[in-house]
Amino acid sequence: MWLLFYKVWLRNARVWRKHVRASLIGNLGQPFLFLLAMGFGLGRQIPQIEGVTYLQFIGPGLVASAVMYSSSFETMYGSYTRLTTQRTYEAILMTPVNVEELALGEIVWAATKGIISGLIMLATLPLFGLIPSPWILALIPMLFLEGILFASLGLIMTALAGDYEFFNYFTSLFITPLFLFSGIFFSISAMNPVIQKISLALPLTHAVNLSRMLCYGRIGPDWPIHALVIIILSVFCAWVAIVLVRRRLIL
């Protein structure tokens, strides 16, 4: 019943292949520059955190943030363009592909883009002296689920958006704070308990924590909580996104 979603995925992959370079620079530029500026620049003046250099400390978190940016931006700007000006969704819905498959295809595609960005970031870490542990094999499916989560959130925004400006709310009030306050740049365990609680309410925190554990190969006792939060949130948000896209497209 839901099988045709991968035809939508294939369509997006075909288009992506044509603009692969611009697309990767767009998605990777920001986290990579942060890695350089903060890691090399600021990092030199900072002592070790949790037993690693500052650059090694922020590396795994930036992998998780690269996934977040790529996935959510694809289902915001990319999907919104296909929904409105290009009328691609309307064209697709005139075929046997139904609206649930369409939405799922968009989400899975954006998560795929997310994981491509995450993997490339991961591959650059050895250049900065961080050799990831074999546990990163377990990180890959978690990054994919993180991609599903942020792709779904982006698609929810698209289903509600009246214009491109609407995405500024989401980016400024949600994505940027997540980037800054999910423990990528400082150790949350060193903060006071209230801030620790707040940061656990941010979805990216769990992805950052998992990424760090699996990159260093230091698996903490709370890994099941992080994994569970990501799994539950990704499924729930995907479901909400599908419902909202259906409501927007089928009058």
Binding site: K7, R14, R87, E90, A91, M94, T95, P96, N98, I250
Partner: protein, 310 residues
């Protein structure tokens, strides 16, 4: 009328759609029989596109029943859409893909395998004179080429029912004639079609039965030629003159069997049978034109001359 002997391909009963307070379609009954080309006519906002969208499951009906190929909509939408081709009114070609890719990717949505899709795409690009544009990006195509590609795409799944929503809108006469020829070819091959259009010449040429919709309801239906003959007549005289002269003229034509319509400084005289006074008038007055009655006369008679979009 042998066409209507077979069971209908599309059967719509009591279909109603409300958007809030606005009634877009009201208690519509409609059948499309295998092999026919049904014309759906009506002013903008009459409910044509809404009806098509309900057929495709893009708009949910408020009440009523739709069945296509004997299958119920929206329950069996997926199965039904496999067998329908649509050329929508608003161009929704995929601008991220080339001409050829547009057809291949669309074929994939229907689950058509790659080699069949490639062969069909080649045939269709040939049929619609687009072969040398295969690798062109959509933005580089002219309006006529885009329309032809839209029609090619609608045929990629070898549909049993072809839905054409204003297929030649905004095209130059050359492009329009080419499309008409192709659609006539398809008709003669037995493809069933549903056509909406504002070009009455197009409707007269392609359809064998029309249905005129106004404010969501059917106001007339039948064979276009017969309807014009029955409801309008055979000939139309258009006279432009001063109001006084037109008054006098109206008076003299009392004895004739004609319908008269006055629009500003213009008199439309629809004649059902020959009349001596009319012929004399046509010779004596300078600003008079005589032409055969057509579908546009009927359309305007049934749906009025005022604009509808206000």
């Amino acid at each position: 009328m042998t066409l209507t002997a077979k069971p209908p391909l599309v059967e719509i009963r009591n279909l109603t759609k409300r958007f809030g307070n606005r009634v877009a379609v009201k208690d519509l009954d409609l059948c499309i029989y295998p092999g026919e080309c049904l014309g759906l006519l009506g002013p903008n906002g009459a409910g044509k596109t809404t009806t098509i969208y309900m057929l495709l499951g893009l708009v949910r009906s408020t009440s009523g029943e739709i069945s296509v190929f004997g299958e119920s909509i929206p329950e069996r939408l997926k199965q039904v859409k496999l067998r329908i081709g649509v050329a929508p009114q608003a161009d929704n070609l995929d601008p991220d893909l080339t001409v050829y890719e547009n057809l291949l990717v669309y074929a994939a949505y229907f689950g058509i395998d790659r080699s069949t899709a490639g062969k069909r795409a080649d045939d269709l690009l040939g049929f619609f004179a687009l072969k040398n544009r295969s690798d062109e990006i959509i933005q580089h195509l002219s309006g006529g080429q885009r329309r032809r590609l839209l029609l090619s795409r609608a045929l990629i799944n070898a549909p049993e029912l072809l839905i054409l929503d204003e297929p030649t809108i905004g095209l130059d006469p050359q492009a329009r004639h080419l499309i008409w020829e192709r659609l006539e070819d398809l008709r003669s091959q037995g493809t069933t079609m549903l056509l909406t259009s504002h070009y009455m010449e197009e409707v007269s040429r392609l359809t064998n039965r029309v249905l005129i919709l106004d404010e969501g309801k059917i106001v007339a239906q039948g064979d276009p030629g017969e309807m014009v003959a029955d409801m309008i007549g055979s000939e139309v005289f258009e006279v432009a003159d001063s109001p006084e002269k037109l008054d006098v003229l109206e008076e003299t034509l009392r004895s004739c069997k004609v319908d008269i319509e006055r629009v500003a400084d213009r008199l439309f005289i629809y004649s059902k049978e020959p009349c001596a006074e009319l012929e004399t008038m046509a010779i004596s007055l300078r600003h008079v034109s005589k032409r055969p009655a057509n579908l546009e006369d009927l359309f305007l008679k049934l749906t009025g001359r005022t604009l509808r979009e206000n």
